[in-house]
């Protein structure tokens, strides 16, 4: 009887220990994900260094569900760069290519016009009402790297109701 109680006791303490170690390792995973994300923000200088392509306006280069790595270097933006930009009043940033650029004498301020590779028209209609050009502060970053398909994870997480219900 005493022997049985002892082993039950040690088993229970093992369970508690295991639960603790699981909690710690989960904490480490969450913390390291946060470290990587914040580290990327620091290194790339872009406030969202990794974005998921949601629309097909850059097909066949970028498809829905692909991942882009952004960089916000000191180099000025030039025609042909693929930039991610925010438009006032639109919640989701847009990834398109710069087709026109005017850089001011002296101040270096830029006027930028973008277009999606597979769109027939440029983006003037996507911009805010009355806005003809993008300025530097609309730009979130410049796409430098590409990884296919991985973004489907987040698209499924955010758009499929069942998965959202289970995990979020």
């Amino acid at each position: 009887m005493g022997l049985f109680g002892d082993s039950l006791h040690s088993l229970r303490s093992l369970e508690i220990r295991q639960a603790f170690s699981q909690a710690v390792s989960l904490g480490i995973i969450v913390a390291s994900a946060l470290i990587i994300w914040k580290g990327l923000i620091c290194v790339t200088g872009s406030e969202s260094p990794v974005v998921v392509v949601l629309s097909g306006s850059m097909e066949p280069g970028f498809k829905r569900g692909d991942i882009l790595f952004l960089h916000m270097s000191k180099d000025p933006i030039r025609a042909g760069d693929i930039v991610v930009y925010n438009v006032d009043g639109r919640p989701i940033p847009i990834v398109h290519r710069v087709i026109k650029l005017h850089e001011r004498q002296g101040t270096g301020e830029v006027d930028i016009l973008t277009k999606g590779d597979s769109n027939p028209k440029d983006d003037k209609l996507l911009y805010a009402r009355g806005q003809l050009w993008l300025q530097q502060d609309h730009i979130l970053g410049r796409a430098v790297g590409f990884l296919p398909y991985v973004g489907w994870v987040t698209i499924i997480m955010t758009e499929m109701p069942i998965v959202k219900f289970r995990f979020g």
């Binding site: 280069g61 042909g80 590409f146």
Partner: protein
């Protein structure tokens, strides 16, 4: 001891890691590919040169483009986006870059071609509205003649850009100057 889920976890972790290494490797190999691109672009004709109502100069051109971008393709290349842009300086802007024509090359077989095109996007300058008021006997006269037109007689550089878009990894951009062209003095 090692349950099914545990084994599956190890397997998935390992394969994701391997896939990551392969992707990085493919992208690194790309940077060893030195490409020598040959291109020739010239302006055949000025179809239209006018001043828009808002004062911006507008030019429509016919271009002859011959490029050989075969060397830009590697096994990790999904497509090459090629475009011709003009570059010039004006009193207002230190740099104006305007894309005239672009094209997506899907594979190596289509990377060498010659074509005649009119510009897909109009060359529209950004006029400098430096309206200088000066008074003559209480009459204000706006002098915008000097700064309204930037493109008359302007020498513009034509530059061929290409953007190698990989199957995975780093994107590569490069350009070469191909020719220069002087826009006529007179509107058509």
């Amino acid at each position: 001891m090692h349950s099914f889920v545990y084994r599956l976890n190890t397997l998935v972790t390992f394969s994701v890691l391997l896939l990551g290494v392969l992707c990085a490797g493919a992208s690194i190999l790309d940077s060893f590919n030195s490409h020598s691109v040959r291109a020739h672009v010239e302006v055949l004709k000025v179809n239209r040169f006018r001043r828009q109502l808002n004062g911006n100069d507008e030019v429509a051109l016919t271009l002859n483009i011959s490029v050989d971008l075969q060397s830009a393709f590697t096994w990790n290349t999904k497509q090459v986006f090629v475009f011709v842009a003009v570059e010039y300086e004006t009193p207002k802007n230190a740099l104006n870059q305007i894309s005239l024509w672009d094209h997506i090359i899907p594979d190596k077989e289509h990377a060498k071609f010659e074509t005649q095109v009119t510009n897909k996007y109009l060359l529209i300058d950004q006029a400098s509205f430096l309206r200088i008021p000066f008074c003559i006997k209480n009459l204000i006269i706006w002098n915008m003649k000097e700064h309204g037109s930037n493109l008359r007689g302007k020498k513009i550089e034509l530059v061929l850009h290409w953007h190698v878009m990989p199957k995975t990894g780093r994107m590569i951009q490069d350009k070469i100057g191909v020719s220069s062209f002087q826009i006529p003095e007179a509107y058509t």
